[in-house]
Symmetry: C2
């Protein structure tokens, strides 16, 4: 089924490091509840948002637009996989702040890190990292980021958030592209002068190829490669860069192998066609960017074959192949990076991250390293205080074999979703997932939204994506027991809907 | 002189709130050293970078480009206005991490904030702020950001960094511009669809007007309004937006009143001309952005008259007048916001901030508030953990009357710089400043760089800007005593150069 898709070894990988990293599978029974203070089960006292949330909303609305606010959270009382809102409702959180909480709320290791004397200076003095780095900066990079670097990548640049990581990754692509164009010549005086004004030849007309339904962020360069909803882009003058179709596969994948291969080949042809078209337009493609699973766009999967071929196309055109792991990274798929499921011949040229990694940033190959200082730069270029916490997260993942737990919990979750869609084929379809990075579709958006709301009132908090899907984005500490709590609620709601 | 420029009341302000805010002037003698653990004076043991810095540099260079690294810092041992590098060199820090440390290193209030139980949940659980805000979010916004809001502005949006603040401010401008164009009609189906693909009419060709030598950040939209050095923009496909001259004034300002007024009028004419030209080009100007003092671009000042006129032009063309206070904000000029020196008729439409404010973000007028959720949005939209520290900073500024201290210390500093340039007219010129936000020029870049290096070896750390300047960007806790320590070193170095 969907979960099996990425375990198919389509080609023999030359990368063996990392394939079994930190994955010592913890059997379901051996998984210890790592936090005894976590609530045992959801408990809902009021409607959600409750009276206290609504009161706070009114107050906040005098200061900023609050249309996106769902409810206010008591972060002090939240613990582990459970979020507690300001009305005392205890919810099993399967969405975790848009997929950005790696090891649950108030994890004891994070609270301890806060109290450690040796972390204090890092937590209160934010440096201009690229100019005056702290004495322990290399070791923090090694312990937190390089310890989990995608196989084959050894360079890393921190950034404050996901959008900045995408923007600066693109800049690394543009620098590398123009360096190759110059063939070793230094930039001309005309280039040096015109770029300050924002003209060619110093600011050349280059582009980055992306995919329909892709989401990469909301600053101008990141928005140019984002193609999900109008709410993200309407009214904004973003460059018109090439956008190819991302495969829309049929699930369960093993029943549609031929159809899906044809769909992926169609998309790959489109990629080549778009590269030629933009070259012809005078806006050559300097790189391509893709999500391992299009998340905001609807949890759209593609096969390892698709990504392998995509990498081959990038190599043919000598452009970087960039993988955006902002949402898929940090273990959610049962491997640390989702692209490790693909058995690529070679590492991606750039892998960017944020969310559960707590810091933004990107790994990159040597040829994408800028040759001058201040090219990929800003005042803070990240935040070492986030590395303090990331180091704890990375160590916990290793020590507790959390990737194994994610695989185990994920298989329990996806099997439960398969059972549900078999039981209710008129309502549910397209269950899919890798690790606990799962989703399922509803017959229509109204039903999806109604069920999300009912789940919440049973104390299960989930998120939507695409037009018809709900997405599971739990912490890495989710267990079979949590899945059972969800399944019970889900089953009873759907059964009632059906009756 | 220059310092007097902004105290001239050119027009009667309708805004009185804030003019004397937190400025209870502390007389020089009454200023207590607020941190008894601060070193008494600089102390240099090795060359800078020293052997330990050079060793760490080699290590870091295997992970990322390190061309911008000056030396490695022992943040644990740094205290107050003094930075200690990894070789034990104690430097009076007048540059403070590119102007981003408001109350010195390891301030006891920041260290205490770290240990307060009520802050723990905020420090370890980073929420998706715009969807699941913490219970205390409104009160943190009020205590930290609204407590120091620019007079007349009551809406605020947090962001992670300066560049993101500029990008999302621009988006607020574009939304408002298109809303006005539509005259109350909802967006058309064609707009909603085309914007996802990145085409007109959904993504219209709009622009933002900026100034020569301006610096606003390094993501694509922010780079489009940045015009300082080639290192920031070369090779990047940024939009070609209108850019007018920023006044190049002659100093001391009171000796060149007529010349400077003519220069400012020339620039204002250019602003009008550029707005018409881009309108004609089909890329209408949706807003303008300006720094109160162009910092990265060379500490270029303009008069209140210039900014008042600029605001009038913005009003004439019905576009927002945005002030980028990323470097000038948070008290460095002796008022909380530099634009409070201008006696504007009305508040700026947008004021963005970052650096010493510890969080990025922007204040804005009601008409720039988006009407839908998820328009100005990302996963984190800021970081409440930074608000914990900002609240301490804001309270300290008020309780200790730090704006008064900045004015007093600043007048001592600028008078010292005037004395020096009178004494060494062949070497030094153009001393200028407001508060402690000061700078002075050297006869050539080589001399400037040599003196910066010699100062550092006497334990005074400063930064360069523009082609010929050094800039002072100290903490808000700088005293006359610190200035004297600098002046002694400066005087002896220049005297030696002269001899």
């Amino acid at each position: 089924m969907a979960a099996a898709l990425w375990s198919t070894k389509v080609c023999v990988s030359t990368i063996t490091r990392g394939l079994r990293r930190y994955g010592t599978p913890a059997s379901a029974k051996a998984v210890l509840k790592s936090d005894p203070l976590e609530p045992d089960k959801p408990s809902v006292q009021t409607e959600i948002p409750g009276p206290r949330s609504r009161e706070l909303l009114k107050e906040l609305d005098t200061i900023q637009n609050t249309e996106a606010v769902q409810f206010f959270v008591d972060y002090e009382r939240s613990r582990g996989n459970y979020l507690v809102d300001v009305d005392g409702n205890v919810m099993l959180d399967l969405f975790t702040q848009i997929a950005s909480i790696p090891i649950g709320y108030n994890h004891p290791r994070l609270l301890n890190a806060l109290l450690k004397t040796e972390n204090r200076a890092t937590l209160v003095n934010r440096p201009a990292l690229a100019v005056y780095p702290p004495s322990d900066w290399s070791s923090r990079l090694k312990n937190a980021l390089l310890a989990v670097a995608p196989p084959g990548l050894k360079q890393v640049q921190t950034m404050a958030c996901g959008a900045c990581s995408v923007e600066h990754s693109q800049k690394a692509m543009f620098i590398a592209y123009q360096r190759r164009q110059r063939g070793g010549r230094p930039p001309s005086q005309e280039e040096l002068q015109s770029c300050v004004e924002g003209h060619a030849p110093g600011c050349p007309d280059l582009s980055v190829l992306s995919f329909k339904n892709a989401f990469h962020g909301r600053t101008m360069g990141a928005l140019a490669v984002t193609h999900t909803k109008w709410i993200h882009k309407l009214d904004f003058p973003v460059p018109d860069w090439p956008c190819a179709s991302f495969p829309i596969l049929q699930y369960p994948l093993d029943q549609f192998v031929r159809e899906n291969r044809a769909e992926e080949d169609r998309c790959l042809d489109e990629v080549r066609e778009r590269i030629h078209a933009w070259e012809k337009k005078g806006s050559p493609v300097a790189g391509m960017i893709v999500e391992p699973i299009q998340s905001e766009g609807g949890d759209n999967h593609a096969s390892p074959y698709f990504f392998q071929e995509l990498q081959d196309i990038a190599k043919d055109y000598e452009i970087p192949f960039m993988v955006d792991e902002v949402q898929t990274g940090c273990g959610a798929t049962g491997k640390f990076w989702a692209h490790e499921h693909w058995n690529l011949k070679d590492a991606p040229d750039i892998v960017c991250f944020s969310k559960k990694m707590l810091t933004g940033g990107f790994y990159y190959k040597d040829n994408l390293r800028p040759q001058e200082g201040y090219r990929i730069f800003n005042t803070w270029v990240g935040d070492p205080s986030k590395m303090v916490f990331l180091e704890e997260v990375v160590n916990l993942i290793k020590e507790e074999g959390l990737l194994g737990q994610v695989k185990d919990t994920g298989s329990h979750l996806i099997n439960g979703l398969y059972d549900m869609q078999n039981k209710y084929p008129g309502i549910l379809s397209r269950a899919r997932g890798v690790g606990t990075f799962c989703s399922i579709d509803f017959k229509d958006a109204a039903t999806r939204d109604k069920i999300l709301n009912e789940l919440r009132h049973k104390g299960i908090h989930l998120g939507a994506c695409g037009n018809l899907s709900i997405r599971f984005r739990p912490t890495l500490l989710l267990t079979r027991n949590h899945v059972d709590i969800f399944m019970d609620a889900f089953n009873s709601i759907i059964a009632e809907l059906k009756s």
